[in-house]
Symmetry: C3
């Protein structure tokens, strides 16, 4: 069974990007594909873009959608085998996952990193729990370590707006008041390795991403140097991987500004804290692609859902 859990599940990237371009021009192109199928979206964390874009994509494919906020509308799930469940968890993933699968043809899961236990987060307990036990295809709507729908939308955006064959793409860390997961930069870094781009990653020391996602690329700790000649600058905060979940810096000098951006085009997955992560002048200065990235989320969800339907039928 095929799932869509990481960017590795994008089988032929060039074909996907080509189909994405066609869907942008003709949203109803695959309107027949999901007819009679039901997609159940389970949210263990809040969501705006992912919630709406995935629903919209499913509608464009002719699917029925059922949305459930698992925490507030359901109950806490148990993921560990052999547990005596006399505490807070009311249902085991061994029942919950296959039960949901009785009522749906595909399941979408959003479950963020807890940022307390790196091993647990990087084992993708929740997402993999559904993959193992549901028995139907699973769509990752952002898990503890990966956000492939965002990364695919980012690839579509770079493809759409690049002005040269091999643009320079810089992933630039930014400060943030809260500790955030590594899912977005992980998937973005991985995705860039599959595109004809030159990737540079810049962040303060201690913010190195997990090597399985960066492909061993050495970071450039000097942001100014990293940004030289950039065509696309992808700004994002994340917490430390080595000192897991820690905020090591809130240095405002790392905020992205119009001046730093120069002629490069600005990318961010949103939501973005203005004047903390990115300055107003960069977001409003005419070089921002953040709304186009959001628009391309519908395309990436259509592509992922279409792939799950076709490759599992």
């Amino acid at each position: 069974m095929k799932h869509f859990c990481t960017t590795d599940d994008i089988t032929e990237l060039a074909d996907w990007l080509h189909l994405g371009n066609r869907l942008r021009a003709e949203p109803d192109l695959l309107a027949h594909l999901g007819r009679g199928k039901t997609l159940c979206l389970l949210f263990f964390n809040n969501s705006l873009r992912t919630r709406l874009s995935t629903q919209k994509a499913a509608q464009l494919l002719g699917m029925e959608v059922m949305v459930m906020n698992f925490g507030s509308e359901g109950w806490s799930l148990e993921y560990t085998d052999g547990t005596v469940m006399d505490q807070g968890t009311a249902e085991h993933i061994r029942e919950a996952a296959p039960v949901v699968a009785q009522y749906a043809d595909l399941i979408g899961i959003r479950a963020f990193a807890g940022l307390k236990d790196r091993e647990a987060d990087y084992a993708e307990m929740v997402l993999q729990g559904f993959v193992q036990h549901a028995g139907i295809p699973v769509l990752n709507m952002e898990s503890a370590t990966a956000h492939p729908l965002q990364a695919l939308a980012d690839a579509l955006t770079i493809e759409q707006f690049r002005e040269k064959d091999r643009p320079k793409v810089v992933l630039s860390w930014a400060p943030h008041p809260r500790a955030l997961p590594q899912a977005v930069p992980n998937s973005f870094a991985k995705m860039m390795q599959a595109l004809p781009v030159d990737l540079t990653i810049t962040h303060p020391e201690g913010y190195e991403l997990a090597p399985e996602f960066t492909g061993g690329l050495s970071p450039e700790y000097n942001q100014e140097k990293a940004l030289e000649g950039a065509d696309f600058v992808y700004v994002k905060n994340w917490s430390s991987y080595s000192d897991y979940g820690a905020i090591l810096s809130q240095d405002p000098a790392w905020m992205m500004t119009a001046k730093k951006l120069g002629e490069a085009q600005l990318m961010h997955c949103l939501p973005v804290r203005r004047n903390v992560v990115v300055a107003d002048d960069a977001l409003d200065g005419g070089r921002s692609l953040v709304l186009q990235q959001a628009a391309n989320r519908t395309l990436s969800a259509q592509l992922a859902l279409a792939h799950l339907i076709q490759s599992n039928s």
Copy 2:
């Protein structure tokens, strides 16, 4: 771009009321109009009638509907330009509004008055934030100062049940344990000025509504006098506009009763606290139109949505 924010956005009231009557008899009359369009309903406050009637209306127009409780399922939005967003708000309206617009053709917004800061409430920060930044038509599902879907349903109800050419309509304040916004009485008072009715507003001193909504009509502080010869009595609590958000009176003598109502027909937007706002004998006495008002909410939402679709295409 046309929006539906206040009763002023009802272009030709007579035509709307006429179409409303036809829709009551034939709910599927405009079933083709919304085909292929998606309506996204964003709730910043709780809702029963508005939530269900707007969904129902959209379905009757053939639209897809996506519902989101912004507070519990999303995060806090920032509305002030130039803010350094290092506190509680996670996304700026400058991003959130146009992002939602990537996935929908129309947006419905419910966002009540905070009742702390009159200037902020009457500036309609949330609703106008979406109007300014979404780039697609906005439907007001009750904002800080206006509830035009309710007022239009009220006009349809008076049109449906009036027994004379120019009925006397009394808006009668009632006590309530909590401080409530002025949105409903504001829009009702404004709407009545567009109908062939004689409007009287009665309330204790200090409860004068904003003059832009009452058209400068002087209130009658004596409820008994105000109710003389009434054909329709619209009961509603609101908090003070001059002493903004304050509860100046909880005098039970202002509660509506069957005796006070006499031969008049009773109206209330609901929810109504029985035996505080309106006595049981008035609600159950056979002169109540409150359920018909609720039924007409589907019509007013159909009319507003149809108008937004047609006038923006």
Copy 3:
């Protein structure tokens, strides 16, 4: 008007079971039946299976579905007549129920027992409030004292997996850390009396169910004796009916195990706490029907909705 409140509302069980079997093979069999009709599901309590299976069933019948979490998205309702509503409740069932009915053709209600006041719970205040005041057919999605959709799914499961004409069915109480309602065992016990099975109920003293549901059947307090020769073992916790809502025992010796189960098939309505209510070896040992029960929930919801549509048209 016909409602679906208890197993007594299943008019001809044999016909329903027969139609259920046909629907299992051909889910779209009644796809035309609900066209143009809207089902509004109101949740006063959390739900996973019931939420998703009822939505799925409605979709299979071609209905539109509107889902609302009444507590978090609406407000507290008043059920007592004559109350002066100056406290926590914001709307009376006399308004709320008929208002919802303006926007829907059928209403589904989930409202659990409070387990504080037996008389109030067994009077089914919430469910019966909607039955009395809505004026449209009501579907019970688990009320204070009954869960007929589950019991019907259980009957379908026994019908599907029985290996003899008259199997022995044992309802076996199990320990649980929290006090749970009697709705599931009540409806299961009642339903079994309508099937060609031999029912035994086993639990510690003090856990006797209300006689109107057991038909006066005497319990067997010795679990080992009760399980002798069982074909189906239905495991479930419930709190005391006589000492209302109390937890009288948490004796782990009552947990179901593979050894106790022997050759019998295991049933549970889910969610189940592993190694507290049922041991891993019983759930994973190849004699479990719990997922088939969950799958049959779609069928029982289709049957109940189809019945409500047909018998009220």
